[in-house]
Amino acid sequence: MTLCHYQELTNIEAAALMGVTVDALESLLARGRRALRAALADLRE
């Protein structure tokens, strides 16, 4: 999330830096953002 959201790297650049495939990066991002959204929702309740 740091690389893609804050640093605004492309998925290809971020995947290369993390040493994972582009598909894996997408999966990690989706899972991470969903988990964060759920955690924030819990905090707001």
Binding site: M1, T2, H5, A16, L17, V22, R33, L40
Partner: protein
């Protein structure tokens, strides 16, 4: 593109399609035009998280990722030499001077005063030309 794929991309890359991977943007905009309500719902949820991230204190990468980022940065070249150093390097004077110094020391210890100059020149020439490489008695 179907709703599941659109939702996954919104979950991964946020609520702005222009920040999604370039190769899926056209299909995503087409899906938005075809299914505006579903697309708007998915994007709105992702945008909420984008705004939360924008308002949050910056996250810092872990040590391992930080090191990989640094390692991936372009390497800087060695500092530029001064013009005189470049001239010395080009002329091979540095190696020649070192060889001459070593030869002079050897000559001073081992050779008679009368022949030291000539022998030193010969030894220096041998070092400079690479003829003398690993002579143990040179030290």
């Amino acid at each position: 593109m179907n709703l599941d794929r659109f939702q996954t991309l919104a979950d991964a890359f946020g609520g702005s399609i222009t920040r999604w991977p370039v190769d899926v943007q056209d299909a995503a905009f087409a899906f938005t035009a075809a299914s505006p309500d579903e697309a708007a719902l998915a994007l709105a949820a992702a945008r909420d998280l984008d705004e939360a991230l924008d308002g949050a204190e910056r996250l810092l990468p872990g040590a391992a990722l930080r090191q990989r980022i640094i390692d991936a940065a372009p390497k800087t070249r060695r500092p530029m030499r001064t013009p005189f150093q470049r001239w010395l390097a080009a002329a091979g004077v540095g190696a020649g001077l070192a060889a001459a110094t070593a030869a002079g020391l050897i000559a001073g210890v081992n050779l008679s005063a009368a022949s030291a100059g000539e022998d030193a020149l010969l030894i220096a020439a041998a070092y400079s030309s690479g003829l003398v490489l690993d002579e143990g008695d040179a030290s």
